[in-house]
């Protein structure tokens, strides 16, 4: 079993929708489990990413913790993959990029309707927000991109089985065609 391919996954500024879609490979998960074992992933609650072959990243980069996690993945994964619209473009979380961060924080913690005891959270344990949400390839080098919101289960399946079988992954047009 030592030769199993190790896969790690994480969600940064994402909604876990891509992970849910991944699980939609349904019974093929058993087939996958024969070839693959999971490193850090919300699926198994392992907290840190150690040597892996493939890292799947959902979501963009919105805060300092995202940067650290992303770097940990980059350091430990041979192949790093941007999964889904948010990882590739920033997606929905990046809608805040049109509003200055100062206004976002003020609205949420100081002047917004219903805010009690207004204050900006300040605790060394809390990650700080970046002024803009970034796609992950602007922070580390990314090897592959899986488009979609979310990428379909078949995209995950095709991509991973290609890699497992030692082929250069390629997604047929039908799998990445959305209109």
């Amino acid at each position: 079993m030592a030769n199993k391919i190790r896969v790690a996954t994480t969600s940064l500024a994402g909604c876990f929708g891509c992970h849910m879609s991944f699980l939609d490979i349904d019974e093929r998960m058993l087939q996958l489990a024969e070839a693959v074992e999971f490193g850090r992933s919300p699926i198994n609650d392992i907290e840190h990413c150690t040597d892996c072959d493939i890292g799947l990243i959902e979501g963009g980069v919105c805060n300092s913790e995202n940067v650290h996690v992303l770097r940990e993945f980059r350091k430990n994964c041979k192949i790093l993959v941007a999964v889904g619209a948010c990882a590739i473009n920033g997606g929905v979380p990046a809608l805040r990029n049109y509003i200055p961060l100062e206004e976002c924080l003020s609205e949420a913690y100081l002047d917004g309707i219903g805010v009690e005891n207004p204050q900006i959270p300040s605790d060394p344990e809390l990650p700080l927000l970046l002024d803009k949400v970034r796609p992950i390839h602007e922070v580390v080098k990314i090897d592959y991109f899986l488009p979609g919101c979310p990428p379909s289960a078949d995209v995950f399946w095709k991509f991973l089985t290609d890699l497992i079988d030692g082929r250069e992954p390629s997604l047929p047009y039908e799998l990445v065609h959305y209109d």
């Binding site: 300092s64 980059r74 100062e102 924080l105 900006i120 809390l126 700080l128 970034r134 602007e138 080098k141």
Partner: protein
């Protein structure tokens, strides 16, 4: 304002096609396009409010918020930069006490950059309320500052500030023998329409805008019109409305020959248009003049009037039964309108977004009617050919490129200006004539053309080798190629019309990726990414702008790959933005400065 707009709409016959004309007047009068004006115009022209807003947003010279009473724009072309543009605009900003891109608090003056104004041989250049300013230097800026602070009306400003020189350095075939007004039309009527078209075919004349389509074919196709018309009877076909458009939207940075031709050879250009009208049977022509050449407008109007008086324009031209007139339409600051179908859209009073082609304008152009769109120089050449015959023209040039090409030469040379050369002339010959030495390379055909290195000076000017619409920018060895490429890449990102994603997003990504590399944040794979991006923008864009926007990068990457590689750090990756800086706002608001409140730009084990 109500009355002003009412009158304006009336003068423009409540035609939506005149929207640009109306908006230009409103902008000139109020220094912006007020919301109330948009409402009123929408009602008067019976078009939607949003259609007007889209046009206001589209063109650089229209603004939805007030500009200064004196709106100063400084040309951002690479050639202006080489003549010291940056220190000029800084000085101006300082003297006038207004930041670039802003309006001064008292509303008197605003300052901004603008794309190349076509004064590359006499820069740094600019525009004040649309009128060209040349040879800006500190004394001139002092003078301009005083005039603005005294609020002197523009017509009381000293004329030398607005002096635009022709700088014709090497006139030959066309420039040396301007025609007598009317001579080409007389030749047409003596010889006959189809015989004259045969002479133009014989001459081998190809479009001078750069693409090089055979002029006679274009005219013939327009005469034939759409296929379905072929089944009409001859009379109905003769009734078909056709249009002639002269493309004087000379926006390619480094090009200014059309400005000179319209200043000193306007009769001949108009005669070429009228000749075409006589051959294909058109009644209406347009000169689409780029907004930056506003200073030529009055003069051109009076040339048109002269021609009407002389019976060379209007009804029954030279008593031969030809009815044709020409209207001048001014652009409003959009490079894309040099593309013929975008130009036609603009003529129709819309945003200048290129159409799908086919159908080509020759069958469905202005208002859906067959339309010939040709460059200024093409019409001028056609007029000479009508008089001197096709063989006269075809005896000069190469096998596939007949006649001469008029070049606008600028940059690092001692005699910038207008040069006319037979096709087939070597680049070295041109460089010797214009006084260029210690040359690093030349941008031929403007940013959308090719950058050639100093090992390629034996190459020839010709459609089969180096094609150009006229732009010829010389760079000497003191120049940095990446600065040049950067200027061009930013230009395209600014001028993308925004219609198709590969160009709108692609040009912005090209700019960002290039900035990253030039800024020293590039790492191992970044040049490869840049190149892939170039190929994508080139292959998937809707029109020529996007298809050529990557040329500055591609042509220099091909010639100087080491230059790009040398900017890369020897690490696998570095973000193109300041990571720690991105936390600054949050840090300040949370009042933190602990170690966890900072990020290193490069991971600890990634240092070089």
């Amino acid at each position: 304002m109500k009355q002003f707009i009412q009158d304006l709409a009336e003068t423009n016959r409540y035609q939506a096609t005149n929207l640009l004309r109306i908006l230009r007047e409103v902008q000139a009068r109020f220094h912006y396009i007020p919301e109330e004006a948009i409402e009123q115009i929408a009602g008067l022209l019976n078009i939607s409010r949003t259609q007007i807003i889209s046009v206001v947003d589209f063109y650089s010279f229209f603004h939805s918020t007030p500009r200064g009473q004196y709106e100063l724009l400084i040309s951002d072309s690479i050639t202006d930069h080489m003549l010291g543009k940056q220190s000029i605009i800084d000085y101006l900003s300082d003297k006038l006490n207004v930041a670039v891109g802003e309006v001064r608090e008292d509303g008197v003056v605003s300052l901004d950059n603008t794309s190349c104004t076509g004064m590359c041989d006499q820069g740094p250049a600019g525009l004040v309320n649309g009128y060209a300013l040349t040879r800006l230097d500190r004394p001139r800026i002092d003078q301009i500052t005083d005039l603005i602070n005294q609020q002197k009306p523009l017509d009381q400003w000293p004329a030398e500030l607005f002096l635009v020189e022709d700088n014709i350095r090497r006139p030959t075939l066309l420039l040396d023998q301007p025609i007598q007004p009317g001579a080409a039309l007389k030749a047409l009527f003596e010889r006959g329409g189809s015989e004259t078209l045969a002479e133009i075919t014989q001459s081998g004349l190809r479009g001078r805008g750069g693409a090089g389509y055979h002029t006679a074919w274009k005219w013939h196709l327009c005469y034939e019109g759409p296929e379905e018309d072929a089944f009409c009877d001859i009379d109905a076909q003769k009734q078909q409305q056709r249009y002639i458009v002269c493309n004087a939207d000379e926006g390619e940075p480094g090009t200014f020959k059309d400005r000179v031709l319209l200043n000193s050879y306007a009769h001949q250009v108009f005669e070429g248009m009228t000749l075409c009208a006589g051959i294909i049977g058109a009644q209406q022509g347009f000169l689409y003049l780029r907004g930056e050449y506003l200073h030529l407008c009055d003069k051109l109007q009076s040339v048109l009037e002269e021609r009407r008086q002389a019976g060379l324009l209007g009804n029954n031209i030279l008593k031969e039964g030809l009815n044709f007139d020409i209207e001048i339409c001014l652009g409003a600051g959009a490079y894309i309108c040099g593309e013929e179908s975008a130009l036609i859209e603009s003529l129709e009073g819309k945003m200048g977004i290129p159409r799908n082609r086919p159908p080509y304008p020759v069958t469905q152009g202005y208002l859906g009617k067959p339309t010939v769109v040709n460059n200024v120089e093409t019409f001028m050449a056609a007029a000479s050919i009508a008089i001197n015959g096709g063989d006269w023209f075809a005896s000069v040039g190469t096998e596939k490129s007949k006649g001469t090409k008029i070049l606008s030469i600028c940059g690092d040379c001692s005699r910038p200006g207008i040069y006319e050369y037979p096709f087939g002339t070597s680049i070295q010959t041109v460089l010797n004539d214009c006084g260029a030495s210690d040359v690093l390379g030349i941008q031929i055909g403007g940013p959308s053309g090719t950058f050639i290195s100093n090992h390629e000076f034996d190459r020839k000017l010709a459609f089969e080798d180096l094609a150009t619409g006229g732009s010829f920018i010389v760079f000497n060895k003191s120049r940095n190629i990446l600065d040049i490429v950067n200027n061009f890449t930013h230009f395209f990102a600014h001028e993308s019309c925004g219609f198709c994603t590969p160009c709108r997003v692609g040009t912005a990504l090209l700019k960002k990726q290039l900035d990253k590399i030039i800024g020293g944040h590039g790492s191992a794979g970044d040049v490869v990414v840049l190149e892939e991006l170039c190929q994508l923008v080139k292959s998937y864009s809707h029109c020529g702008l996007g298809q050529t926007a990557a040329n500055p990068i591609l042509t220099t990457l091909e010639r100087y790959p080491d230059l790009y590689q040398s900017r890369l750090k020897e690490i696998s990756y570095e973000p193109g933005f300041d990571l720690d800086g991105a936390l600054e706002t949050a840090r300040r608001m949370a009042n933190r400065n602990d170690a966890g409140a900072h990020l290193a730009q490069i991971e600890a084990n990634e240092h070089e």
